[in-house]
């Protein structure tokens, strides 16, 4: 049936008005009838058909000037997509043809072969042409004589799409031995290429998780690593950053709906400042009285974390709030065959790198950084040479808290924002800092990336539940063998 109409399309029937019977079927018929009607519209070759079909895919058909709501399910949607791609193949614009070829490369019905061949003959663009050749090969695989099939199988071996693997996997079980051998060879080639894509995808997932862990732990690397404050409220500072992002987003939605996509630019400094201010206040009011008493600090900050959670729950409600992604954070980029890298994760990796760089710069190249390092290494001596150690403590704690706020801003883009958000990251953050070696920025970076990779690798092998357990067990053993972490601070500060 479909065969017939693609042939009809090839015959390039003169433009008719849109067939009313077909429209009625689109509106009223069952799925089989709808697919027939799509085919009928395609056969007419009317340029208007594309518009009608596109509208139909969204669930509307105009019959006798009246819009009728229709139900389009996945099966019908595939048929529409194929039909639209088929129409697009002969379009004059290169972009349309390329999109159509890509759509067909995702797995098209073999009945469209004559159409694809016709498009191939006319095609001059090398990129579209090679795509179409693959499409043609995947169609020829199933039917035709042996020589064509083997040629098609060999050409598929050069492709790197997951779709080719599916096709070749079927051909491996073919009755004919020559075809089987050719298919096995091609399948190995495709699988080799896909395996690289998978490895790259895994690597990216590891870096992405690592960057998130790094963001969550960087603030703690200052407050715990450098200052020695066991800050159990660190997770809640992350949460405050995420809620600040939410408030800014809502503000933008209400006041500048047109500039909504840019709310993140405002949310980044805002979350830094808000979390930083909360941190500085905590330091001045509670923590500074507890320096040198880790147990009390732990209990006090834990209490603060509960208070922060409860206040957020009272203000914003217990349920999660929605932070919408701006357009540039949605979707992904096709990097390798079958591997799509989401933009949100790419941006977060870049953001983590930027924050890391700025922090490194601040700690090593500025006066404040010098003071912070001085105070952490030898408080008395720093005070003797005129450093206002109390003020430095406050700024350093504020900086660590502000970075936690930045982490919250980033996390709001990929996860849920709720009062308990911080609870999920506090364990991970401490794990990263302790694993990397307390007091070491570089250690934190290595530890975050190592844990990111280890987690993702184990997840791909054993599943998420086991991976989590294995990583925790590993950390326990590691800390037992090497309590100072990956990188130990050398010198007399170790005791402090």
């Amino acid at each position: 049936m479909r065969n017939l109409l693609f042939v009809l399309l090839l015959a390039a029937a003169p433009a008719f008005a849109i067939d009313k019977a077909a429209l009625a079927k689109l509106a009223e018929g069952d799925n089989d009838e709808k697919i027939q009607a799509i085919a009928a519209l395609l056969a007419e070759g009317d340029p208007e058909a594309a518009a009608v079909l596109a509208k139909f895919a969204e669930g509307e058909v105009v019959v006798d000037g009246k819009p009728v709501e229709v139900v389009v399910n996945n099966r019908v949607r595939v048929a529409v997509a194929d039909a639209l791609a088929a129409l697009g193949l002969l379009a004059p614009e290169r972009a349309t043809r390329l999109a159509a070829a890509k759509a067909l490369a995702g797995g098209a019905d073999a009945l469209m072969l004559p159409l694809v061949k016709k498009a191939l003959d006319k095609e001059s663009d090398p990129e579209i042409k090679s795509l179409l050749e693959l499409v043609a090969s995947s169609m020829q695989m199933k039917g035709g004589d042996k020589a064509t099939r083997i040629a098609a199988i060999e050409r598929l071996g050069t492709s790197n799409s997951p779709n080719s693997r599916t096709l070749l996997a079927e051909a491996v079980a073919d009755a004919d031995e020559d075809i089987r051998i050719a298919a096995q060879k091609s399948l190995r080639e495709v699988q080799g290429k896909l395996a690289w894509g998978e490895r790259a995808g895994l690597l990216f997932a590891g870096v992405s998780l690592g960057s998130i862990l790094l963001l969550a732990a960087l603030g703690l690397a200052i407050t715990y690593g450098l200052m020695g404050v066991i800050n159990m409220a660190h997770g809640e500072l992350i949460m405050i950053g995420a809620y600040t992002t939410y408030v800014i987003q809502d503000f933008f939605k209400m006041t500048f709906p047109k500039a909504f996509d840019w709310y993140l630019l405002a949310a980044i400094p805002a979350s830094f400042v808000v979390a930083g201010l909360v941190g500085m206040m905590l330091e001045r009011v509670v923590i500074r009285w507890l320096y040198g008493r880790p147990l009390e600090t732990l209990l006090a900050t834990w209490g603060i974390s509960l208070m922060l959670i409860q206040s957020v729950r009272t203000i914003f409600g217990a349920a999660n709030v929605q932070v919408e992604n701006p357009a540039f954070m949605s979707g992904g980029i096709q990097a390798f065959a079958g591997v799509v890298l989401p933009w949100s994760r790419i941006w977060i990796i870049a953001f983590a790198a930027l924050v890391l760089f700025l922090m490194y710069f601040l700690l090593t190249k500025t006066r404040l950084g010098l003071f912070v390092r001085g105070v952490t290494q030898n408080r008395e001596m720093a005070a003797c040479v005129g450093v206002h150690t109390g003020r430095v403590d406050m700024w350093a704690f504020g900086l660590g808290s502000g970075i936690a706020g930045l982490a919250g801003c980033a996390l709001s883009q990929i996860g849920n924002v709720g009062p308990d958000l911080g609870q999920g990251y506090i364990v991970d953050s401490f794990m990263v800092v302790v694993f990397g070696g307390v007091g070491q920025l570089a250690g934190t970076v290595y530890a975050a990336l190592t844990l990111g990779f280890a987690n993702k690798f184990l997840e791909s092998v054993s599943g998420a539940v086991i991976a989590k357990i294995v990583v925790l067990v590993f950390i326990i053993f590691f800390i037992q063998r090497r309590p100072q972490g990956l990188f130990a601070v050398k010198g007399r500060t170790v005791e402090a």
């Binding site: 969204e58 669930g59 139900v71 389009v72 399910n73 996945n74 099966r75 949607r77 595939v78 997509a81 995702g106 797995g107 997951p162 779709n163 693997r165 599916t166 996997a169 079927e170 896909l194 998978e198 995808g201 895994l202 990216f204 997932a205 992405s208 998780l209 998130i212 729950r313 409600g317 217990a318 349920a319 999660n320 929605q322 932070v323 919408e324 992604n325 949605s330 979707g331 992904g332 079958g338 591997v339 799509v340 989401p342 933009w343 949100s344 994760r345 990929i414 996860g415 849920n416 709720g418 009062p419 308990d420 999920g424 993702k456 997840e459 791909s460 599943g463 998420a464 539940v465 989590k468």
Partner: protein, 429 residues
């Protein structure tokens, strides 16, 4: 306080002694009757459960406005078990023994239901459970107004196997790691095998509660689906993990036309705030969708919208959404009212006996009937595809209500189990 309690107790025991009547609730509470609402208002399940508390309060308001239950006003007692399973049992005990509620409406996850079950059985109180679940349970103290596996999971998988559903041949069973997904997947695995699906064509994956990084899992699904034959994913992910899951699914461009994902715990409410444009065509199976066109549904959604606005319920006041467990809660509350009025008593045993055969015109437009024996509702099954606006398009439905099979025939040994609760009263004798 203590003295008053003592006086109350004294009066009560005198009354009981004098009349020899067991229905303590009426006498103890005079003109109002207390009912418990036991839903997580915080934690990972709050995304799904908070709204069930609100719809319950709306139903109570409605009933009170029309004169209450047997002339008594309903006085709701709302507690927050905070997605913490042992806390569910604690709060249930508090509701029954301290607040002396006549009935409790609550729970979402099966693990929370399993946690409160011994409490309700020990104290002989009633629980109405409004969510689809894995079956394998009939308690005389629980009425299940959500779907059993044969009213949701099995029809959904059958649909995906059919020509219209895309003739799926390979299956990924993906879930949160607890009793509901594990049992449902056990049933589905047996079902798929009975349909001739090979072991190698089924992949099972679990994530912890609150999991938020679905990169590797989606990569795994992609790989699995490219290894031959049409693949479908059955998702029993629960709670707020669904948001990162669907975000990742959309971002990685896994389209419903290639690999459809059918979910059993994702409805209109869970998809709020997720950009659903890349998710068009992914499926959910329920016994109710907000988009169902029925007069009863128009009325239900209108009432909810007005109530959300009046009570200033976050999110719903601007964009009111209804979903299946909300409908099931609503049905449960009205059926309880009808049963109490039929029994003319709040006594657990009498209300229980009166529940069998109760009918109610559900918002889905179907007349739901409580089974005479097995404590489950007869419900119609709908399968919907996600639309760009976050609503669902119903693409398939059963002809009429389906009787629940809490003991799935796909689990060995279930054929011998009785389709009604074991009577504890008899055991006691």
């Amino acid at each position: 306080m203590k003295r008053r309690n003592f006086v109350k107790q004294l009066a009560l025991s005198a009354a009981v002694a004098a009349i020899g009547l067991g229905s303590t609730a009426i006498l103890a509470q005079g003109k109002t009757v207390k009912v418990g609402v036991l839903h997580s208002l915080s934690g990972t399940m709050a995304i799904s459960e908070t709204v069930l508390k609100d719809i319950a309060l709306m139903a109570f308001d409605e009933i009170n406005a029309k004169g209450g239950v047997m002339g008594m006003k309903i006085e709701p007692v709302v507690v927050d078990p905070a997605s913490n399973w042992p806390l569910f049992a604690e709060k249930a005990r508090q509701l029954i023994t301290q607040d002396k509620v006549a009935v409790t409406f609550g729970c979402w996850t099966s693990v929370s239901r399993k946690s409160v079950l011994p409490v309700f059985e020990e104290l002989n109180s009633l629980l109405f459970y409004p969510v689809q679940y894995e079956g394998e349970e009939i308690s005389r103290n629980v009425f299940y107004t959500g779907a059993a596996p044969n009213q949701q999971a099995i029809p959904a998988v059958e649909y995906l196997m059919s020509k219209d559903g895309g003739s799926a041949k390979r299956w990924v069973l993906l879930g949160t790691d607890y009793v509901y997904p594990r049992t449902t997947n056990k049933i589905l695995r047996a079902f798929l095998k009975s349909k001739g699906v090979a072991e190698a064509d089924i992949m099972e994956e679990y994530t912890p509660f609150g999991h938020s990084d679905y990169q590797t899992i989606i990569a795994k699904i992609k790989k699995f689906s490219s290894e031959g034959k049409k693949t479908a994913v059955v998702s029993t992910i629960n709670g707020d993990s669904n948001v990162p899951f669907y975000k990742e699914l959309g971002n990685q461009g896994l389209k419903a036309t290639d690999v459809p994902v059918v979910a059993f715990s994702v409805g209109e409410e869970e998809l709020r705030g997720v950009d659903t444009k890349p998710l068009v065509g992914h499926l959910a199976a329920w016994n109710y969708f907000m988009s169902i066109k029925a007069p009863a549904n128009d009325e239900f959604t209108k009432k909810w919208g007005a109530y959300a606005k009046a009570k200033n319920i976050a999110g719903h006041k601007d964009k009111p959404l209804t979903n299946d467990p909300m409908e099931a809660t609503y049905i449960g509350i009205y059926m309880w009212k009808q049963a109490v009025e039929k029994a003319k008593s709040f006594d657990t045993a009498k209300v229980s006996a009166a529940m069998g055969g109760q009918t109610f015109t559900a918002p889905s437009g179907i007349t739901s009937t409580m089974d005479a024996k097995n404590h489950h509702l007869h419900k119609a099954v709908f399968i919907g595809e996600v639309k760009a606006d976050g609503q669902f398009n119903v693409v398939w439905k059963t002809k009429g209500p389906v009787k629940a099979q809490p003991w799935s025939p796909f689990i060995a040994g279930n054929d011998k189990k009785k389709d009604e609760p074991a009577l504890m009263a008899e055991k006691k004798k």
